[in-house]
């Protein structure tokens, strides 16, 4: 058993490095994207081997699913523009400098891990000791939504900032509803799949408190359903001026801050969840975060604002 798993791990590690090298080495953007999708899938297997199923789930939903969709969509958008030339942006000197910088950083991280004291067991034991007070059975959820809720608050803040940047920088080029009607097979596929995907997202959200799963996994899966609806012309891209979309984007962040401040009324520190309420608050926050994360990812895919007051020139008449 150990010998088989050892061989499995060696093949996995070598493949990961080879895929990463391939992603960087190829001059074709499309080939690079496909290799990156495979990299995400392989990475998810690596997380499974490292006993980090929560990360494996995220990598499966984001790395193997959504990132590929985002990159392919961007490539299609780039090619539709006349001035697109796939020239490498760095000369040989620039590439060498980048390789040196990345290599140095890699060696520094490797040296840091090598110098890790044997006796240092990490924080796992402390999390296990206090797990009962966290309101969650899954240690990862306990850390993300309770012990280190600050990190998660800032992460959802980063997602909101990303949406603001996308909306500010990229006006959408008239994709009101995807005009090209999907064929019967694709339409039927979306029709059958989307309800199941929504169900899977709900399952991951619900499981998150006592098993791997949670808001980020559920949000990413839900976003995939949104992407399918968007790309087959079933729903229009999210609108900047619609109060519902704006509300959904900030919902998670606002709820997080509101809970963080509200607990202070009971004499707790900012974001210090009271033991008795912790499970309820975690489920509430995770549900709202799921909605925000899903809509943010769909907006990142749709790629910008549609401006009703100034319709883009290439919009359908």
């Amino acid at each position: 058993m150990t010998a088989i798993l050892w061989a499995f791990d060696v093949v996995l590690a070598v493949t990961l490095v080879a895929l990463a090298a391939g992603v960087l080495a190829t001059a074709s953007l499309f080939r690079s994207i496909v290799l990156f999708i495979v990299f995400g899938l392989t990475m998810s297997i690596a997380w499974a081997r490292l006993d980090a199923v929560d990360l494996g789930l995220v990598e499966a939903a984001v790395g193997a699913g959504l990132t590929g969709a985002l990159l392919l969509n961007t490539l299609g958008h780039m090619r539709s523009q006349a001035e697109f030339t796939p020239e490498p942006s760095h000369g040989p000197g620039g590439r060498l400098a980048l390789a040196l910088a990345a290599g140095t950083a890699g060696l520094a991280i490797g040296a840091a891990v090598w110098a890790w004291p044997d006796a240092f067991a990490g924080l796992g034991d402390r999390v296990d000791t206090h797990l009962a007070e966290s309101g969650a059975q899954n240690p990862v959820t306990a850390v993300l939504l309770n012990f280190r809720a600050y990190d998660t608050l800032l992460e959802i803040g980063v997602l909101v900032v990303a949406v603001v940047a996308v909306w500010a920088l990229s006006p959408m080029r008239g994709r009101v509803l995807d005009a090209d009607p999907p064929g019967l097979v694709l339409a039927g596929f979306v029709h059958l799949l989307v309800p199941v995907v929504v169900l899977v997202a709900g399952y991951l959200l619900w499981m998150g408190t006592d098993a791997p799963g949670g808001a980020f996994q559920a949000g990413a899966v839900l976003a995939a359903a949104g992407v399918l609806l968007l790309i087959t012309g079933r729903v229009a891209p999210p609108q900047l001026q619609a109060i519902v979309e704006r509300g959904a984007v900030v919902l998670g962040l606002v709820a997080f801050l509101a809970v963080g401040v509200a607990v202070m009324a009971g004499g707790h520190a900012f974001l210090e969840l009271p033991d008795a309420w912790a499970t309820t608050l975690i489920l509430l926050l995770e549900s709202l975060l799921t909605i925000s994360i899903a809509i943010v990812l769909v907006i990142l895919f749709a790629g910008g604002r549609t401006d009703a007051a100034h319709p883009p020139e290439d919009a359908a008449p």
Binding site: G22, L57, F189
Partner: protein, 96 residues
């Protein structure tokens, strides 16, 4: 008996590695992304086998997520990338 499921997971991983040649060689974009589509199925099988081999039941949920999102990249590919727009990289790519 868990040995068998671990060994099969390794066998499928080796299949995936061998199939990477098709991603690299192409020649059409559809060849490359179809190989990735096959790897998605391989990944589902590997996750389900590892769930058995390592006794981690939640790995079946990873398999479920991979299965649910298996065709998303392909749908975006045919709707947004391979639509008959000129592909400036195709010619440069063919020689490699």
């Amino acid at each position: 008996m868990n040995d068998w499921t671990a060994a099969l997971a390794l066998f499928l991983l080796l299949n995936l590695v061998a199939g990477l040649a098709r991603v690299w060689r192409g020649p059409t974009p559809a060849d490359r992304i179809l190989a990735a589509q096959l790897f998605g199925t391989t990944g589902v099988a590997i996750m389900a086998l590892l769930a058995d081999a390592l006794d981690i039941t939640s790995l079946r949920d990873v398999a479920l997520v991979l299965a649910a999102l298996a065709a998303v990249a392909m749908v975006v590919f045919v709707r947004r990338v391979w639509t008959g727009q000129p592909d400036p990289e195709e010619a440069a790519d063919a020689g490699r």
